[in-house]
Symmetry: C2
DNA sequence: CATTGGCATACCGAAAGAATATGGGTTGGC
DNA sequence: GCCAACCCATATTCTTTCGGTATGCCAATG
């Protein structure tokens, strides 16, 4: 059973005439006549009654006709759906984000995305520093909003912004009275650190920053997330050096101050698999750039 | 869009491999590979991700796959439905019948038909003597149960039985005391007749019967239907000569008696268009013969 | 009886399909 | 680290199928 034959059959059934149908199909009448007879041979029964004034569906022909139109429509729809997905007009995109960025980015990013890709299903998933790579590689997320970027041969990165490192402290801390804190004032103070530098690029950036200024801060605690760090800071266990955007999720009682002579920052990036060629990724990137630019 | 390509596509998507799919399709691997690429060219986007261990649907491919299976099934189902209709396993048949036969035939015919052609939609329509030909010719009924048969070059007839002509009279008529009525006793009595013999073959059969026995019966009334005739008989307007099966629909107060020396009868027949080749007609004929044989 | 309108058949050139042979890239074993 | 195995892609050739033109057949019409 061939879709071409089915299309011809439908045309003849609708035109109730081989000649008329051939005209509409922009082909000659004889080959159409041949195709119809081949279809009848394939079915094993006449589909048309040949009269002197044209052709007319038999009962068997009516049974086929009832389904043929639908089958044609479904095939065409399938092709169109595939094209739409490939062009980014339809489909789904699963967006992973790291929680530090959630408060700063998502409230503006989500409406922006819905406006840009209205036919697309959106899906969000929080990523941890330790799983984000795997989630991209196994395609359980399409793109990841990361801080900092992921480095991996299979993963493509687009830097879309940066966040300054700031000092987070309890509001009652004497340093909080300063508008910005000179690096020297950190010397010897306890630090609430993120995971070991070899496991967490953010942490290694902080380590590098301190080393560059020849500051030593004893590690008073090591935690997994920025939020845990802020909890310990609030509890008076020490200070933390965190990306500026963490302020937005900070509990009351925590204040952030610039580090006077350090302009170190951490990249905000969009990451995706190199072999994901969905145009949705480009669109997502545009939206994310726009939102992060106004951070 | 070609069904073959769609079928190949589904096979490759399910096997997640061109080679495996080719094996299942009993063809070589290269032409299948070519067809898949042609389909991708037609869609304008890759449908598979080529890995080192086989192929995997892209998002666009998934969108197509979701509809392709259904389209294939629908096309196959259409072909099968057409075959089923052609073979008489499915379909519909519209049965016309003349009302005189209804009481005698339908109660046994309908269950017989439902048993014989369970997948078929049945449809019944009462026919009048004047419209039965037209209803067959315009296909608004597929077969007609007629008494007597229709004669027309486009219409095929199968005689399936006959009904004896009997005399219908009021129960209080003196003739009713006889077991059967000699023809001679009809001489001069008023007759309730059906339409003019040139318009109604049943009527012309009665006329011939009387003429052959040299009986003259003045026409006391001419009516369209057997039932009207019986009403007038009951009202005492005259006698009627009617097919035996009319007894089953006769009102109380009417009795039927054999005509002692007349064995004239009227044919019961199944009629259909010569160009209707539905096997359902044969089946219908079998059922009708069986039922009428036991009348 | 000729003309017209409609479908079917015959035949030919063009296009598409399938098979065989082969290339290239990746994986996994020795 | 090299070689064999595996899998998909490409090239070439042969066959099938398709579409076009020319023509035939039949019925209806005047």
């Amino acid at each position: 059973m061939d879709l071409r034959r089915l299309r011809y059959f439908v045309a003849v059934a609708e035109a109730r005439s081989v000649g008329k149908a051939a005209e509409r199909l922009r082909m000659a009448q004889p080959p159409l006549s041949v195709q119809i007879r081949k279809l009848e041979a394939e079915i094993g029964a006449p589909l048309f009654r040949r009269g002197t004034r044209g052709m007319d569906l038999t009962e068997a022909g009516q049974a086929l006709f009832a389904r043929a139109g639908e089958a044609l429509a479904l095939a065409a729809d399938g092709a169109e759906a595939a094209r739409a997905v490939a062009a980014g007009r339809r489909g789904r995109i699963s967006v992973g984000y790291m929680f530090v960025l959630a408060n700063a980015v998502l409230p503006r990013l989500i409406p922006e995305l819905r406006r840009s890709i209205p036919g697309v299903d959106l899906d969000f998933a929080e990523l941890s520093a330790s799983t984000r790579e795997a989630r991209l590689l196994d395609r359980s997320v399409t793109v990841a909003l990361c801080m900092p970027a992921i480095h991996h041969p299979e993963i493509q990165v687009a830097r879309i912004g940066a966040q300054l490192f700031m000092l987070a402290m309890p509001i009652r801390s004497p340093l909080a009275r300063l508008g910005s804190v000179p690096m020297a004032r950190l010397q010897g103070r306890p630090l609430i650190a993120l995971p070991r530098p070899d496991q967490d690029p953010a942490s290694s950036a902080v380590t590098a920053l301190l080393r560059r200024h020849q500051i030593v801060m004893p590690v008073a605690g090591r935690v997994e997330t920025v939020h845990s760090a802020m909890s310990l800071v609030l509890a008076g266990e020490g200070l933390a050096i965190l990306p500026a955007c963490a302020q937005l999720g900070a509990p009351r009682g925590i204040v952030f101050r610039r580090l006077r002579d350090a302009t170190d920052s951490i990249d905000v990036a969009v990451c995706w698999r190199r072999d994901s060629h969905s145009p949705l990724i480009r669109t997502f990137l545009k939206c994310a750039e726009k939102v992060v630019a106004r951070l």
